[in-house]
């Protein structure tokens, strides 16, 4: 994930991203995406968790979940994403959320919003939730067919309005695929009308229920078109001095150097963003980012559920960060290798896609938007000029102290 506005300009997530960078530099977890249950009341046909109506057999007990949150608090975790399945279907959802907030952790809840009512929205506001992230994919008939339950879209939109009335930040997520592409620009317009603060566009993840559907992805040209639209929006917002939407891009790390190249061409100083990318790359695998599933399995990325490094029952979060750091010390291969791409260390390519395609997490990311594209000189020089905190910091090996 990469928050484009906050990375290159002063966006709404700059503060939490700075905290994540600090955590990583100190060898602590930078952010955790935790799928607290695999149970869901929707059947999204692209769900990377293949969530369904059932609880997994070895799901963490309530006591284990609270102990884990307390551990996160002790490690001063900057950002926690509660996801699922549908996280609000876990019985101690509120206990997890409120324990995390009491520990000073910033929490985003990724929910399908079908359990959202006025009371829940008020409670989320009181609890000081950072964001509610919820999915929309297209017009009602399309959306409802995609999630497998009629009437869902209307309920989601009603919930978004209710959350905004209560002053809760809302992010809209969508999977970018050939199926959803025709509706992307309408969705952007709708996001503005609904007063949401962030749009998350994630490339189609071909695991879980969409395993093997690699031909469902849009083309690099379409991704670049979307990037150009977002760049225009960013610059228009800067020029007008308005806050504007935050744009979050998932599973497409090369989107970030592509945007940086275009911004440099348009005279924008991207040095601050590049400094940050040298510490936490556009693909955050190995950078203190981790995913925990409902059974305590720890993965480098939520989009590769079979790429497990251990479980919370057998290792601490600190030990997990140390294991993940071993990935950070390896170089990507093919078009993502440092000798093949000047942006290798700030981008890294999508490691989850590499894992899914080959079983080697360091294999090349074949969905790169930049490979064999135009002149890279300007951005390459800017990257060389930017300080490299992670490699020079005394605590660059997480867990060593």
């Amino acid at each position: 994930m990469a928050h484009v506005r906050s990375l290159f300009f002063k966006g709404p997530l700059a503060d939490v991203e700075n905290k994540a960078i600090t955590a990583y530099k100190l060898g602590r977890p930078s952010d955790v995406i935790w799928n607290i249950t695999n149970r869901c009341n929707l059947l999204c046909d692209h769900c990377y968790m293949a969530a369904d109506a059932h609880t997994r057999p070895n799901e963490l007990s309530d006591e284990e979940t609270i102990a884990l949150v307390e551990q996160m608090g002790e490690r001063k975790l900057p950002a926690l994403f509660l996801s699922g399945g549908e996280p609000m279907m876990r019985k101690n959802f509120w206990e997890i959320l409120e324990t995390a907030r009491a520990a000073g952790i910033r929490v985003t809840v990724s929910t399908n919003c079908t359990f959202m009512d006025r009371e829940a929205a008020k409670r989320l506001r009181v609890d000081g939730i950072d964001w509610i992230a919820t999915s929309l994919y297209g017009p009602a008939a399309f959306h409802d067919a995609m999630v497998g339950v009629p009437g869902t879209r209307d309920r989601v939109v009603a919930a978004i309005k209710l959350l905004r009335e209560e002053g809760v930040n809302v992010a809209i997520k969508t999977a970018i695929s050939k199926a959803t592409w025709p509706y992307v620009y309408d969705l952007i317009q709708e996001a503005r009308e609904l007063d949401v603060g962030l749009l998350y566009f994630c490339d189609l993840i071909t695991s879980g229920r969409s395993e093997g559907e690699d031909d469902g992805r849009i083309t690099p040209e379409q991704w670049r078109e979307l990037a150009d639209y977002i760049i225009d929006d960013l610059l228009a917002g800067q020029e007008a001095g308005v806050k504007g939407l935050e744009w979050d891009i998932g599973a497409m790390p090369s989107f970030i150097p592509y945007v940086a190249e275009r911004l440099i061409e348009r005279g924008v100083d991207v040095s601050n963003g590049l400094e940050r990318l040298k510490t936490i790359s556009a693909c955050p695998v190995g950078k203190g980012h981790m995913n925990i599933n409902s059974e305590g399995g720890i993965m480098p990325c939520q989009f590769a559920q079979d790429w497990t490094i251990g479980t919370t029952r057998e290792m601490t979060l600190q030990q997990a960060v140390g294991e993940l750091y071993k990935l950070d010390q390896q170089e990507a291969k093919g078009v993502c290798a440092p000798e093949a791409c000047e942006y290798s260390r700030i981008c890294r390519g999508c490691r989850a896609k590499a894992w899914q395609r080959t079983g080697d997490p360091m294999a090349e990311d074949v969905t790169c938007l930049l490979h064999a594209s135009g002149d890279r000189t300007a951005l390459a020089e800017a990257i060389a000029d930017a300080p490299d905190f992670a490699r020079s910091a005394p605590c660059a090996a997480p867990g060593s102290c």
Partner: protein, 173 residues
């Protein structure tokens, strides 16, 4: 008093018991309702001690009618692959079917027979069948286990409401 949607949502998030333990509780439901209204006069059954809320006879008939489509939902979930279960606004039935004039004994017998037959079916199904699921038009994905839990709690919560009415009518002291 939780509304039906809240009850259904609670059933979806509850893992507290094995489904096999639900059958006995499901079967007991009809007797619970019969006992709750056994000594009530026609006037007391039709009284509205809580302004704006259903009378006792309306609550009882609502339970019985809801139980019919809840049993059907369970059967369709057992027998067909991931069926679509349509949500129902049971409140719309009150006036349309003139619950106040219903023969309550007929409703109670229907409830008893429905639950007896459904419980017998539930006892015969395989353990795996409890993991079968369906798509409810309002609640989304639901399992057979969640459907029976919702059915049990639906009746039990409404019986609690009947006892509240009885207390206000001076019947339970």
């Amino acid at each position: 008093m939780a509304d039906d949607h809240t009850l259904a949502a609670e059933a979806q998030t509850d893992d507290s018991d094995l489904p096999s333990k639900f059958i006995e509780r499901y079967e007991r439901g009809a007797a619970l309702l019969r006992a709750a209204i056994a000594d009530m006069t026609p006037e007391q059954l039709r009284a509205r001690p809580v302004p704006g809320k259903m009378s006792t006879i309306e609550v009882a008939c609502h339970i019985v009618d809801a139980d019919q489509f809840m049993a059907d939902r369970m059967k369709r979930t057992i027998a067909t692959d991931r069926p679509l279960l349509m949500g129902v606004n049971g409140i719309a039935y009150l006036e349309a079917l003139d619950y106040a004039e219903r023969d309550l004994e007929l409703d109670l017998r229907l409830l008893e027979v429905t639950r007896e037959q459904m419980a017998a079916d539930l006892r015969r199904i395989s353990t795996d069948a409890w993991q079968r699921d369906a798509v409810h038009s309002e609640m989304g994905l639901v399992t057979l286990r969640q459907l029976i839990l919702h059915t049990i709690r639906h009746l039990e919560r409404h019986v609690v409401a009947i006892h509240e009415k009885r207390a206000l009518l001076g019947l339970d002291r």
